[in-house]
């Protein structure tokens, strides 16, 4: 499954300062994947340093905004959100200075 992942607000620093990643993710099932699985995949494959800045427990650290196709994931079920091919997922840290 093809996904576009975008990191902003300083999170890009955790993955080699690259903001946009076009990735092919194999979530077992070829057609669908949950955000929960994606977070696990990101943590394993993209995050190069300080993973605790990205994850806390099995979800993103509080203060990180997650948008799935420009929609706040709090409206689409957070970890249960089901992703499809060509979805765009954005992670933005709100924690850095003003």
């Amino acid at each position: 499954m093809q996904l576009t992942l975008e990191f902003g607000g300083g999170l890009e620093l955790l993955c080699d300062s690259v903001k946009v990643h076009d990735v092919k993710v194999d979530g077992g099932d070829e057609k669908k994947m949950s955000m929960k699985n994606l977070l696990h995949w990101v943590r394993t494959n993209l995050i190069k340093e300080r993973p605790e800045m990205f994850m806390k427990g099995d979800t993103v650290r509080p203060g990180i905004l997650v948008l799935v196709n420009d929609c706040d994931w709090e409206l689409s079920g957070q970890l249960e959100t089901v992703l499809e091919d060509k979805d765009v997922i954005v992670f933005i840290s709100t924690l850095h200075g003003g």
């Binding site: 902003g8 607000g9 300083g10 620093l13 650290r61 509080p62 203060g63 905004l65 948008l67 420009d70 706040d72 954005v90 933005i92 840290s93 709100t94 924690l95 850095h96 200075g97 003003g98």
Partner: protein
Amino acid sequence: MENKLFSPGERIAIGASGGKDSTVLAYVMSTLNRRHNYGLDLFLLSIDEGITGYRDDSLETVKRNQIQYGLPLKVLSYKELYGWTMDDIVKMIGLKNNCTFCGVFRRQALDRGAAMLKVDKVVTGHNADDIAETVLLNILRGDIARLSRCTYITTGEDGPIPRCKPFKYTYEKEIVMYAYFKKLDYFSTECIYSPNAYRGFAREFIKDLERIRPRAILDIIKSGEDFRISTTTKMPEQGTCERCGYISSQKWCKACLLLEGLNRGLPKLGIGRTKGPHNCGHEDTNLGSGTNSIESKQCGSLDF
């Protein structure tokens, strides 16, 4: 705008760090001013602490904002005001306590910049999360004097230049979301000199609370607003610094004291009562430098 923050014809300086809050503030203020003919004269005011690889980059962002929003920009540096950059100071005193300098100097620098621009008011980008965090910190430190003051939307009305925080009730999340959808150009890197300890915990706690119950942030602000100080509590008296004329409750203001230490090669002078390392700008609770509220954020964000 129901809080009567502005009136037509006023000159307003926007404290601009290049970070998300002040960038959104500058964008919103200039857009509303144009769209609804508020008749405000807007300026961007930036403080250059002299931190290589951090402030120089974020100032580039402010310079782009100046062009994008068509607002005149004034940059004031620690070097020109105090003769020292933060890089110089860190070289001399090391990483410990450097944020004390940074915070004290920045607050005063903003007032001086505002005076040079002859503005009637200064606005800063402090958001609801910042203020809730400051309320918590003031409670933890037992700083009664600042506790209620830190929640005022406008402070220092009795002083030379009042400051106000139009985003007082705006969630940080909303600001970041807005910046994202408007594709605003902002800078997001933490100050390289920030040890990020004490305030970091409060921040994290607020974010944890928000996840459980988003209203908690506004509730904390409300608690701060409703806090009343009994009249028997003695509040520090305000005077002016004998050396530079800045507001101070001591003979010399905090900035002058710190500078004296630096110039005499005794940098410890004036750091006395700080409680361990804390973030830049995260003010030095009882350091006498005065009336301004302590709210602030990560080092380097403009918190004045």
